[in-house]
Amino acid sequence: MAYPPPADQWWGLFYYFSTLGAIIGGIVIAFLVLAAIKYRYKPGKPEPEDAPKPGTFPKDRGHLKYLFVLSFVTLSIISTLVVGSFSAFHVLTTPPDKGLDIEVTGFQWAWGFKYPNGVQTVSNLVIPVNQTIVFHVTSSDVKHKFGVPYFKTSIDAIPGQVGEIWIKATSTGDYDILCYELCGVGHAGMIGKITAVSQSQFNQWLENATKQK
């Protein structure tokens, strides 16, 4: 399945994190379980020489060199995570072209949209397919979070501030808009819809909407 931008970036990074996470987590959990089973007490097994004795301070043990090896390996792995994140972050925050600007205002409890020519809609947004859409998101009351899960992107809607994200639908159809920040009793129902249509259908729709204004 091909993901539309910028979800392709997100999924790529997510699979990288998940694969690494599953491998490392699997190894460490296996290490934990196997160590607990292998060295478990069996009748007749002698106590280790350095076993804790009541009232005696246990000996310190451990080697500095293992600490260095461990830190080096960890830092090399996590630096790839940081680099991958930063490059995906760059894509997520940078629209590929100027695109169509939509002003989004969250309010209790729906989303309001405003096209560049002044046409306004509530909850339902019609967009042209294969074109970059840049959302300028704010709120008129409390904090909300404007999220379009299919495109794997979202941004806070904060009163008095404007945040930016972009998407580009690669096929026509309906996509959900959800609110990801608790904003009062209507939070769960703050669901909107993006309808992606062909460029010609969009032009026609916008023309009609402009006339009705």
């Binding site: 997100w10 990074l13 994190f17 996470g21 490392i24 987590g25 460490v28 959990i29 934990l32 160590a35 060295y39 478990r40 007490y41 097994k45 280790p48 076993a51 804790p52 009541p54 009232g55 005696t56 301070f57 246990p58 000996k59 310190d60 043990r61 451990g62 600490l67 461990l70 830190s71 960890t74 996590i78 995570l81 940081v82 994140s85 995906a88 972050f89 997520l92 009351d141 904090k143 979070k145 899960p149 794997k152 941004i155 806070d156 904060i158 009163p159 008095g160 501030q161 945040g163 994200i165 609110c179 990801y180 920040e181 608790l182 904003c183 009062g184 009793v185 939070h187 769960a188 669901i191």
Partner: protein
Amino acid sequence: MSETFSLRRWLTTTNHKDVGILYLVTSFYFMFFAGFLAMNFRVQLFSPNQSLFTASAYNQVVTTHGLMMILWVLSPMGFAFANYIVPIQIGAKDMAFPRLNALSYWFYLFSGLLLVSSFFLPGGGADVGWTAYAPLSTTKYTPQVGMTVAAMALIMLVASITVSTVNFITTIARERARGMTWSKMPLFTWGILYTVIMMLFAFPPLGAGLLILLSDRILGTMFFTSNAGGALLWENFFWFFGHPEVYILLAPALGILFEIIPAFSRRPIYGRKFILGAFALASIISFLVWGHHMFATTETALVKKIFSATSVAISLPFEIVTIYLIATLLRGSIRLSTPMLFGLGAIYMFIIGGITGVFNASIALDYQFRGSYWVVGHFHFVMGGTVIFALLGALYYWFPKMTGRMYNEKLGKIHFFISAIGFTMIYFPMFFLFDMPRRIFTYPATAGWDFMNHIATIGGFIFGSIQLLLLANILLSLRRGPPAGFNPWGGWTLEWLIPSPPPAQDFEVSPKIEREEIVFPKGGSTEWEDVEESYTPWPLTITIGTTLGLLGVAMFLPLAILGLAVVLASLVGWFRDDFRGKFAAKAEGMGMWPFEKISHEKLGMWVFITAEMMLFSMVVSGYIYVRSNSAVWPSPLLVTNILAHLQGGIINVPGVGEIAIHNIVLGTVNTLVLVTSSLTMALALNAIKNGNVRGLKIWLLATLALGVTFMVIKGYEWAGLYSEGFTITSGLPAASYYLTVGLHGAHVIAGLIAIAFLITKAYKNGFTKESYTGIENTGLYWHMVDVIWLFLFPLFYLL
């Protein structure tokens, strides 16, 4: 202290073990309460479009579950063990300040009850999530008084924790047995020390945020509703506390694992020094990651990248700790008893929670994760899984010590395995629900989230109901468990060298460390006086007064006056408590580097002053934040006419309009008055050090007079400002001035009350050349108040 069920004992005790038990029972009660709430909303979420709860009820239940579990369950349960075990582990007979310890507990209990009671107030309780994001949490969007009461409960908890912090730092720094150097201190005590140090810096900022929120809610200021402050101001306050808080919850749990894993592996912990170093590093970084909760805000990309890098980096020290815990198992002779199973279970949870935490640190993945069930899954593995499993391990581990009886091993093992399976069933499916928003009370059938929610709810019921087995095990074993003896696990620390349960004063003679051994010097004279009893009613009555006062401020003002009267009367009783033969007497001179030369009280006061400094710097940061975000701010620098500064008040500035400036001359005079009072306070201390009681009285009276003068001038200034229309609700400049300067004024008044008390005591000849701690410590506090003013004066009057 043999009266097990005496009401007098449990209401007035100051013994650290009794207080520990009280904490344990209370935190368990709150855990079952908050867990029951969770099972309710798991039913609601079992399938789409359920209607067990309305949206409002659901939000209240979720908010209370979160607040209660994080602040009234996880931390206090860790501190139940800390109260019971830490003094014993370091060889002390009690905490440094036993009465303050009781006060911490009662504040904790009553703040929790206040939170529970807010549910039943008209309009319901807080329904804004545990993060209480502004502006949703302001009166405009959440008018019900329940939200105010919940914020009051939080402030009370902050007070409880601050007092605890003072107590634990002083105890650990000053009460260790002779020869117990920092490097020999047991690791659970180290874990608690790290916890309280982080608490010292994290909780005052929460207190500052709550004060400002309450000022918005009660006094009508607009810090969080105006765009100059608003959502981001609250988030910075909240997460500056909130992220270290995660490590504050984790540190006692890790401390517990550092005890349990070696004890049952029968090997010393691997890399003790490296673990302590990693832990210290993590504690420091924990204050540099709060911005990762704000990746989706409008902060700049550079700020986000820095926070992302620090957040990924914090995984390194925790990874070292985890690997070293597992390395401890190698070549051991592992007893898989219940405490060990829970310990291993906690590590398993920590591996999953830690790895998914690295995902959250990524600024890019955050674009989908923030606010989704992925985050819920992650932090429950850390806080629910790691911390609760470690705490349950601690309960089984120290149960024999606390009760003298063994628990039932078979029931314990069943409890562990079913808990681990149930817990994983609740939270693992949430990693597949990263499209599902948090805190929605229901979801549409078309979303496709049903299956994972089915599993989570079933898991929730498995996990919730098996906890009844734990209760049964405890109740059964309390009566029928076989005797435990001193040391059922072969542990090395001090608590295992004394009887189970320990006698009221823990040790007959004070233990000593000689080379690598803990010894009880035979026939050696004990350095403690005998303590016959340790009961005092004042911690409880102070708490009742405070609770009434807070409820009064929120709802019915006359109640607040009654509360204040109760507090003041109790304080008089507190300071008149007769110490002879009461409260574990302190063994002086046991403090070790670098605390040999400082008294308990003085060290405690310095810790408290640190907390106060954090509080004031956060309030001032709030002022700087709103000021830098405001287009116009009245400043004397705008006024070129020198004469205007002599009068202060509302002045018309060409091009800016009417602004209010403060009377610089009067402010300067007042600053001099306060600085002089510091001098007279120092002279008072000097007088009594030379045995000059008459000089002491004179200089104390002078300090009192100067302090009162300061407040009178302040009152005159405020009256003038009010008459010109510069009131607390007339915008952010006025609000931040009144709030910050008012908070300072409240500290001056508290200082004046203390000085008035010192004067009465001086007239009763209560101070001598040898005994003047009260003067010394009140003096320290008074100097702090003056120093704070030296910062506030230029910030508010001159700039």
